[in-house]
Subunit: 200 residues, 2 copies
């Protein structure tokens, strides 16, 4: 059931809160481009259905939504290969909030698609790291959030080098010239701990 | 300046409130597909920058955002032909909130684009009514709103028949088979009255 879910896209609001609470221990916060985020000890991830108020050093929101660029064929390939979130062995994760420049958003749909995939191979690069790395994409721009996207990745410690390689390749693409703020938040948890309030 | 603005897409949140206040007098509320909206006397339109609290019978929110389907060429053609909101002669308007079915949102980007333009000629049909009819599109789905889109149209009384023809053609398209809720709210104002708190 889960692998086919990318095509079923009821928006769910997620909040990522850096503070004193949460199952994920923050190991580093790096400002990749532009302003970073304040230091915090732990990260809590809450889905809209999980309730409770976010109290922390910072709180970022985004909604899962329908795909904006993937074709049906690409979506089916992704669905076949991508793993679920919350795997027992995936004790490392990364929250990477990203903002793109006004010049990106001034581009029409066809120009953005061309830059993202035909020029930068964003979707293809991501496929190279499946099924090692599970991911969830959230949109924040239409919510008035400081970041246009919250990207969330989960992987086993043995795949951390692969994950770093994925980031290195993406950050070298023409698409990334349009990224004007990016923060890389790395977290880890103990094996067996409940990772997310809502796995969707 | 205004005609090129569709490519500059900083999201602005708009709220449409049916109640006792507002420059637009509501002349009819028709449930086209699915559940309608409660009766109200007047319509207020507020942009995020205009402040104040919405008090009324109903209140619907949506953000203007980047284009999701138009190509660069289509966007340039639209920008050349489309008029600004708030024209003195445009004393009639329509708010048409629309929700699409889960099966629409389960389609990938390429399938939605194909249905919208290549099959249904949505963008082309709209062009046939420029510059008579000014419009603004707002997205509500990612905000958790009851409608996925709020569409707003302004025109002179002399173009009301053209506007009805536009709606008739759109509603007959294959794309409209995916519309599972649609309400048609017609409004009018006196010549010379201020129509909108924020013209963007």
């Amino acid at each position: 059931m889960a692998p086919s879910s990318p095509l079923i896209a009821t928006p769910i609001l997620y909040t990522y809160t850096g503070g004193a609470a949460g199952p994920w221990r923050i190991s580093s916060i790096e400002a990749v481009v532009g302003e970073g985020l304040p230091a915090a000890a732990r990260l809590a991830v809450r889905g809209a259905e999980s309730g409770g108020e976010a109290v922390g050093s910072w709180s970022l929101r985004g909604v899962t939504s329908n795909g904006r660029y993937t074709t049906g064929e690409e979506a089916r390939t992704l669905a076949e290969r991508q793993p679920s979130l919350g795997r027992a062995e995936a004790t490392r994760a990364a929250l990477i909030p990203i903002r793109k420049s006004p010049s990106w958003w001034a581009l029409a749909q066809d120009a953005r698609r061309e830059l993202l995939q035909e020029t930068s191979r964003h979707i293809s690069i991501g496929l190279d790291y499946l099924p090692a790395i599970a991911r969830r994409l959230h949109h924040g721009r239409d919510l008035g959030e400081p970041f246009d996207f919250l990207t969330w990745f989960e992987f086993a410690p043995t795949h951390e080098a692969d994950f770093n390689s994925l980031l290195k390749r993406l950050r070298a693409t023409p698409e990334w010239a349009y990224v004007d703020r990016e923060v890389d938040v790395r977290v880890r948890r103990e094996v067996g701990e409940q990772a997310n309030a809502l796995l969707a």
